[in-house]
Every structure is written in structure tokens, then in C-alpha cells.
């Protein structure tokens, strides 16, 4: 299938028009008869003992149907570990209370739930729940939290996770160096700011199954809901609405458990929708990191040793911090061949907002450090930044810091060169306005940790009229995942794209396909659909081969017909062939399971082992103008070049890359969730600023298609990689413009002036 008919074409996604006319029912757009309105009471303190909770006044309010505190739900705890569709056991200490009862550990922690006839009554009821708090000392800085005697966020200590890599001989590596470059880099909390706040509706159906229609990236949370409530897993059904963005913030449980509890206790449908402020308070953030990098390098630019210390603020509960910090550890070297590596990573509990998944999952933070570090090396050696990288880039067949061999294409030099070339002629300086250029290369995994034994299932079926149904439990938070699955089935079965339907995920309707996280959905579910469609194709062609008296290999399917390849006039409409198959009882549907490669966990002492199925490589280049009087930075041009393996829908891929680039520019220049003593000081979208349409110009996108990825037709993943190198590239450009290094994000005017010694 070298010449694709549908794959590789920039098609209009099937969900696009319905969204544009406002017909798509998002989670908050769905109503049930007799529906109640839920609300959550949240802690006003980042660290406090709860002396007393008295819900009696709230319960007495007319219109209030249910008030739940921890005592009413058996002091239930929820496992907030990585959502498994496999048998993987969770890490110890990964539980969080559903509702706090003895103490609260962050501001915004849930304390009580209300369901009432109207939203207004529910809000009023929250005010009538009497909670007496006794504030306790908190700890708000991971460095402080590691010191002896620091307040302990949860027992036994504040260390949430530690990871290490030991490769080669670090001392010998530094001894062999001509020069050692040592720097500390810092990055802030970042808010996902998806446009759709968390929302869902739940009800108990006639079989006693709790149905939850929700905005989520993870269907498999039905298991967590069941376990938390102490009910069988087959008694919880999740329907995934089209989500209004996720970016990792809807990877952890949001409203699901609260909704299930309220629906079960009231036996009525319940709706729960967060306000924007509540959303910012209640869900995870991107991890702030302190990153100490010490690099040994020869005068010729070859890196001899790298020692890295990463400190991540996990916030008040572990959630996915152990995994995010592992990702950071694995990619801490960047896409470079370094023989002697020593990485120590620690994720530390504080009374800050909890941190967890955010697009890139621990990748963008070390990228900022390792790519700034490469520019610092180039500067110290008087070398070209691309030349220093070229000498050290990983190539196919090389091993990473964990000893994993790179099997796919690693188009690092080409992507960097192409991105830089796309910037065109350099803009000249103008008075106090200095122009600078920078780029960053990266490596970012796609697919989950190999010891999670990740799988995806898809069911593909042909109807008698030649149309196709895909049932695949893949949430679509906006990336066009479902539409791409349609393209794959259309290609393989030779059915026009408009004749393919993919259902939105529903645990009662679609086989489980795993999470829309870790840039895995096209890779995993794309392969599952490819397998299922290929099995049906084989059935069709085998039967047609008898009819035409030709070998199956000499037949093809296209435009809703089966035909003889070298004599296309000998053909049959697909529905006729389907009728023949159906009359003979041949299977016209197939359930496929795609399995990622499985490995055992890495060695915890050395970090050695295979960690991810594969990596995406690429680069981002940017030109900025910095006003040295005001510190203001203007992005003049930017270009992203990624090897996506194969672009199934180039329009969707370009959209992912431009969107990721913009998020990355925001991370570089404006986004900063300010947290002081556990309190978010930027709790709304007028205080926490994200890029608007007038902030940055269009990012040029250059797609490389090596065809070497593990996804369908050689695709790699691009959802997360799109953001990874952006902030690093901007910091390199600003450093280039100013001639002084930038080591902290975001690069605000204040930081620019400080770097220039003007503040």
C-alpha cells in the first residue's frame, strides 16, 4: 500500500463541522430528567487540621438533597496512581482521601459534597457546612521540604520518588574533560487552561450500573471509581464526551468519583461542573523543577560526562509525580550520546497545588536545561551551536543514557537545520531592540513505559451496505484521534471516508483502548484499527479471489469496490462481496488487540534498561526581538520541524504542532502560576495569562516523514513532542540577543532587565 488514497491527506475531521455549528454535546451540555446539581466544598487552607465538620445546617436547607462528608463515605481513599488497563500494581503511598477528614494538605482539597435541586441552592449549601480548621505549619519549597525537621506532608517523609541513572564512569568522564560547564535552571508551575472546565453527569441505570458521562482522557477510571466506592468494576460505566481540551489535566480523576458518590446516594442524575477558578484550584499543574547540570566537554565539542540533579515539586499528593519525574530522568541527557552519565532525581511533597501530567510529561523541563546547556557549551568553546550538537547527537543504533538502543530514524541534525533555514534572513537590530536567534533539539518518547504492558483494542465491522463502524475506546480531547482512526480503516478497506463512523468512547460500547496520554493513541489504537481492518480485508480478498479466480495479492479494494489490480474493469461493488461473505457466515468484523513491546522495569540502582517503545525527534527555531530598555520580548519568526514518521492527517499534525508551539511560547514568555505559601495568586484567566491570537505569529511547520515509527504506516507520535523544545529555543534566542544567559522561565521583562543588570 505504497500509494495511499486517504492516509496522508489533509482531510476535514468528521467532528469539525459539528463543533463549528455548536451541535457537539460536551460534558456540560448534556441533561438528564430530574437532574440534581453537585458542588464541592474545598479547603481554604493549604495545611490545616480539621477539628470538626458539621453539615447539619446545609442538610436542613430546602432543596438540598444530599450532603456527603468523609464520614458518610466510609473515609474512602482513591488510588491516584497511573491509570492502568493492565494488571500493573500501583506504587505504595499513592492513595489520596476522596474527602479530607483529619487534615487538609493543599488549598482547594475537597472536604464535602452537595447535591441540590438547583446550582444556586447547592452553592448556598456549601456556605452552610460548618468546618472548623486549625491551621498547621506547611512547607512550600521542595528544598525546605527535604530538610530534617520540615513539616511532613504525609508519612513517613516528603520524598515521593527517587530515580537515578548510573552509566559509565562519571569521575573519569569529568577528568577527561577540557572544560566543565555548571548551571542551575528553574521552571515554574504551569496551568493547563483547557477551555472546557471539568464537567460530567452521572446516573444509576436500571441495572444498577453507575453511568458517568464525562470530559476525560482516561476511560479506565471506571475501575478507580469502582474500587473507591467498593463496588464491582462492572457496575461503573464511563461515556467519554468529546473533551474541550485536556493536555494531561484530565488524565487524573476529576469529577468522576464525586459524581458517582452523589448519584449513588441520591439515586438521581447529578451534574457537576467546575467553575474556572475551581478548575484552577482543583486539578494538577505542570511540575516546577530545579535542575542542576554539570557537563564535561572536550575542546572539540565532544561531551565526556554529564551529571544532573533534578528536584521536582510534587505538591500535596503523589498523583503521577513518580512517573513524570522518571520521564525527566530518562530524557535528562537530551538527544545526545554521552558515555558517562549520573542523574539523581527526586520528587518532593509540599503543601502546594499537586502536580501531575501536562503535555510533555516531564520532557519540556529538562529540555530547557539540556538545550540551554548546549548553547552555553557552544559559547564557551566559541563553536556554532548546531556544530556542538551535531558532534553529540544520537544516531540510529546508538544507546540512550538508560542503555536503550534507538531503532528508528533520529533526524536531529536535519530537523535543526531545516527549522533554522525556515527562519530566513536575519532581522537586524534597531537601536535598543536586539534580535536573537535560538533553536532546541529534543527527544520525547511516545507510548507508555514498557513495563506497564500497554495494549489497545479496536473493533472494526462492515455493514451490509459497505459502510464501516469503528468501536474503539479512545478519548478524543481535540487531537482528532477518532478521525485519524477512520482514515486508517478507510485506507485499508477501500471504503470512502464518509462511509466510516467511529464512536466516541464508552465502556459499554467500545473495547478498551487505553488512555489518551503519553502520545500513545494514534500509535496504539491506530495499530489496533489497522490490525482489525487488515483482518477483514483478508476475509474479503480471500473470498473475492475465488470469485475472480485470481490470487488475493492480485486484488485490491478502493472506492467501495473490489477489483483485479491489472484489469480494474473486473470488479464488484463491495456490498455484493459482503453479501456473499455474509451468506457464507464469514466474519465481517474483527476485534484486534495491539500490544506495545513489553519489558521488565529498569534497574532502580542504575536506571539501565529499555523504558519506552520509541522516541520522536525534532527541533524548534525562533527569532526574537528584545527591547533592552523595557525588557519586552517580541517573537518575530518561529519554525518547528519534527520527524512525525508518517502524517496520517497532515492538517491534524500541523494543528498539533502549531498548538504545541504556542503553548511552548506561552511557557517560555508569559505563563507562570504564581504560588505563595500554598496559595495560587493567579487563580483566573485574567491573572494566569495564556497566549492570545495577537501574541505570537504563525509557526512555520516542516514535517519530516521517515516512515520509521512504530505507529500505523510508520507514524511516530507528535502530540507531546510539539511543545517540548519550544521554551528552550526561546531562552536560547533571548540569551543570544542579550549576550547573557537566561536560566529561568518564564522570561518576563523583569527577568530580562535583571539579566542585563538593570534591576
Amino acid at each position: 500500500m505504497a500509494n495511499f488514497k486517504v492516509v496522508g491527506k489533509p482531510i476535514r475531521r468528521f467532528d469539525a463541522l459539528s463543533k463549528a455549528v455548536g451541535a457537539t454535546l460536551f460534558a456540560d451540555d448534556f441533561k438528564m430528567p430530574g437532574m440534581l446539581h453537585g458542588k464541592v466544598l474545598r479547603s481554604p487552607y493549604p495545611s490545616a487540621r480539621i477539628v470538626r465538620i458539621d453539615p447539619s445546617r446545609a442538610r436542613a436547607l430546602p432543596g438540598v438533597v444530599c450532603v456527603l462528608t468523609a464520614a458518610d463515605i466510609g473515609y474512602a481513599k482513591m488510588v491516584a496512581d497511573i491509570p492502568g488497563q493492565t494488571g500493573q500494581r500501583e506504587r505504595p503511598r499513592s492513595e489520596t482521601p476522596v474527602l479530607a477528614w483529619d487534615r487538609v494538605r493543599y488549598k482547594g482539597e475537597a472536604v464535602a459534597l452537595v447535591a441540590a435541586e438547583t446550582e444556586e441552592i447547592a452553592e448556598r449549601a456549601l456556605e452552610l457546612i460548618d468546618v472548623e480548621y486549625e491551621p498547621m505549619p506547611g512547607v512550600f519549597d521542595p528544598l525546605e521540604a527535604m530538610k530534617p525537621g520540615a513539616p511532613v506532608v504525609f508519612e513517613p517523609d516528603n520524598i515521593v520518588a527517587r530515580w537515578r541513572i548510573r552509566k559509565g564512569d562519571i569521575e573519569a568522564g569529568f577528568a577527561a574533560a577540557d572544560l566543565i560547564i555548571e548551571n542551575t535552571y528553574r521552571v515554574p508551575f504551569v496551568e493547563h487552561a483547557y477551555l472546557e472546565p471539568e464537567a460530567g453527569v452521572a446516573w444509576v441505570d436500571e441495572r444498577g450500573v453507575i453511568n458517568i458521562r464525562v470530559s476525560t482522557q482516561v476511560m479506565e477510571h471506571f475501575r478507580t471509581v469502582a474500587r473507591t466506592l467498593g463496588i464491582p468494576q462492572n457496575r461503573v460505566r464511563i461515556q467519554g464526551a468529546f473533551a474541550g481540551g485536556g493536555f494531561g489535566g484530565k488524565e487524573d480523576i476529576t469529577v468522576e468519583v464525586f459524581l458517582a458518590l452523589l448519584a449513588l446516594h441520591t439515586r438521581r442524575p447529578v451534574r457537576l461542573v467546575y467553575t474556572r477558578e475551581e478548575s484552577i484550584l482543583a486539578h494538577s499543574k505542570r511540575h516546577p523543577y530545579i535542575m542542576r547540570y554539570r557537563t564535561g566537554v572536550k575542546r572539540n565539542g565532544r561531551i565526556t560526562a554529564l551529571r544532573v540533579e533534578l528536584i521536582a515539586d510534587s505538591g500535596a499528593y503523589p498523583y503521577l509525580s513518580p512517573y513524570v519525574s522518571l520521564y525527566s530522568t530518562v530524557v535528562a541527557t537530551g538527544p545526545y550520546r554521552i558515555d558517562n552519565v549520573w542523574v539523581d532525581t527526586v520528587a518532593v511533597a509540599t503543601n502546594n497545588p499537586f502536580t501531575s501530567a501536562f503535555r510533555g510529561f516531564g520532557g519540556p523541563q529538562p529540555c530547557f536545561a539540556y538545550e540551554r546547556q548546549m548553547d552555553e557549551i557552544a559559547r564557551a568553546l566559541g563553536m556554532d551551536p548546531l556544530e556542538v550538537r551535531r558532534i553529540n547527537y544520537l544516531r540510529t543504533g546508538d544507546t540512550t543514557a538508560t542503555g536503550q538502543v534507538i531503532h528508528s530514524a533520529a533526524l536531529l541534525e536535519e530537523s535543526a537545520r531545516r527549522a533554522l533555514e525556515a527562519l530566513g534572513e536575519r532581522t537586524p537590530d534597531r537601536g535598543p531592540i536586539r534580535v536573537g536567534r535560538g533553536f532546541a533539539s529534543y527527544m520525547q518518547p511516545y507510548g507508555r513505559l514498557m513495563w506497564l504492558h500497554d495494549t489497545s483494542q479496536a473493533w472494526v465491522g462492515l455493514e451490509l451496505d459497505g459502510t464501516v463502524v469503528i468501536r474503539c475506546g479512545a478519548p478524543d480531547p481535540g487531537g482528532g484521534q477518532l478521525s485519524s482512526l477512520c482514515q486508517i480503516a478507510s485506507e485499508v478497506l477501500g471504503v470512502p471516508l464518509e462511509n466510516v463512523v467511529a464512536y466516541t468512547p464508552d465502556t459499554a460500547l467500545t473495547p478498551l483502548a487505553g488512555t489518551t496520554t503519553a502520545t500513545r493513541q494514534l500509535y496504539m489504537s491506530g495499530n489496533a484499527v489497522l490490525q482489525a481492518a487488515t483482518a477483514i480485508r483478508k476475509t474479503l480478498l480471500d473470498r473475492a479471489s475465488k470469485y475472480f479466480e485470481e490470487d488475493p495479492e492480485d486484488l485490491d479494494l478502493a472506492d467501495g469496490r473490489v477489483f483485479v489490480k491489472n484489469d480494474p474493469d473486473r470488479s464488484m461493488p463491495l456490498p455484493d462481496l459482503i453479501r456473499i461473505c455474509a451468506a457464507e457466515g464469514l466474519p465481517l468484523s474483527h476485534l484486534a488487540m495491539f500490544k506495545a513491546p513489553f519489558r521488565d522495569p529498569i534497574d532502580p540502582e542504575t536506571g539501565q534498561g529499555d523504558v519506552f517503545p520509541d522516541f520522536t525527534f525534532g527541533a524548534f527555531a525562533v527569532e526574537v526581538a528584545v527591547d533592552t530598555e523595557t525588557g519586552l520580548i517580541e517573537v518575530l519568526k518561529s519554525a518547528a520541524c519534527h520527524d512525525v514518521g508518517r502524517a496520517i492527517n497532515p492538517a491534524a499534525v500541523i494543528g498539533q504542532i502549531q498548538g504545541g508551539s504556542h503553548q511552548g511560547l506561552g511557557y517560555a514568555l508569559m505563563e507562570n502560576l504564581i504560588v505563595e505559601n500554598g496559595e495560587i495568586r493567579t487563580p483566573s484567566l485574567s491573572e494566569y495569562l495564556i497566549p492570545t491570537s495577537v501574541d505570537y505569529p504563525t509557526t512555520q511547520v516542516i514535517l519530516l516523514e521517515s516512515g520509521t515509527g512504530l505507529g500505523p504506516f510508520g507514524a511516530k507520535g507528535i502530540g507531546e513532542p510539539a511543545i517540548t523544545p519550544v521554551a528552550a529555543a526561546v531562552a536560547n534566542a533571548v540569551s543570544d540577543a542579550l549576550g547573557v544567559p537566561i536560566r529561568e522561565l518564564p522570561i518576563t521583562p523583569e527577568r530580562v532587565l535583571k539579566a542585563l543588570g538593570k534591576l
Partner: protein, 170 residues
Amino acid sequence: MEPKLITLKINGRTHQVALKPNVTLLRALRDLGYTDVKNGCEKGDCGACAVLLNGRPVNSCLVLAWQADGAEVLTAAGLGTVDRPHPIQEALADSGGVQCGFCIPGIVVVAKALLDRNPNPTEEEIREAISGNLCRCTGYSLIVEGIQRIAESKESSESPEAKSNKAPTL
């Protein structure tokens, strides 16, 4: 204060509803079933709830329903449907400017207001017009391109076949 009976003319349909003075137009619209008007922040920060009020774009969360008494309200769903989409909706779907799509209904009506007063906007004018509509997925470029395409296709729509026979006129 007591509820007052007001008249809302939404997408050509007249609704008479009794509402308290503190009910926003956003709440009133969504309660009446106009769920294409999205609630992204309820503070006027995001633009997801934008509608046209007598032809002018407003964030419906910042307008009290009483203030819209008797006014014409146009939402994205009133502009077109899946069967009869407005060219702006068609163009945004075609350009790849729709990802999660939560911001799109607001952008559709803001783009309509822009094209009504300026049929041939520059890229800069388009960016300025939608600067009150946050989008977290796309980086805006494909949305801007989509709106630009409308302007361009209108220019060439003197030839009758260039006009979609399904689409209502602007």
C-alpha cells in the same frame, strides 16, 4: 428582586422567560437549550460564550439577561447547522482550525461580526478581532487562515458556481 418577564429573540425564535435580575445572558441561553454557547470562565476572560447582540459581539457572561430584553441574539447554532453550515463554519472545519472545538462557536460569531463590517480583513485585523477568544489547542493560525479563506472566497464569489448552493448567504 422578583423575576421579570422578558423577551429574548434568539436565532430568529422568540422566547418569553421570567428571570431574576442577576441571571446572565449566558445562563439564560444555556438554560433555554442553546448549549452551543459555551461557559469557559464566566468572567469575560475567554470569549467561549460570545454571541451577537443586535449584531455586535459580546461575551454573554458579561451581559445580564434583562439587558438583552427585546434584543436580537445570534449564536453559532443560529448561523448554521450541520446540514446548512454558514461559510465561516465550513471554512473553519476545512482549515483544520477546529481541534477540541470548545472555543469555536464563540469565534464563529465574532468572525461573522468582523466580516459583516469588513469583508476583506487583513490577517492582523482577523487576529485583532478574535483576540478576546482564547484557544488552547490550535495556536490560532489555522483559525485565522480559515477566516481569511472566507474573505477570499467571497471576493471570487461573483461567479455563481463558486458559491455553495447549500449555504445561506452572509
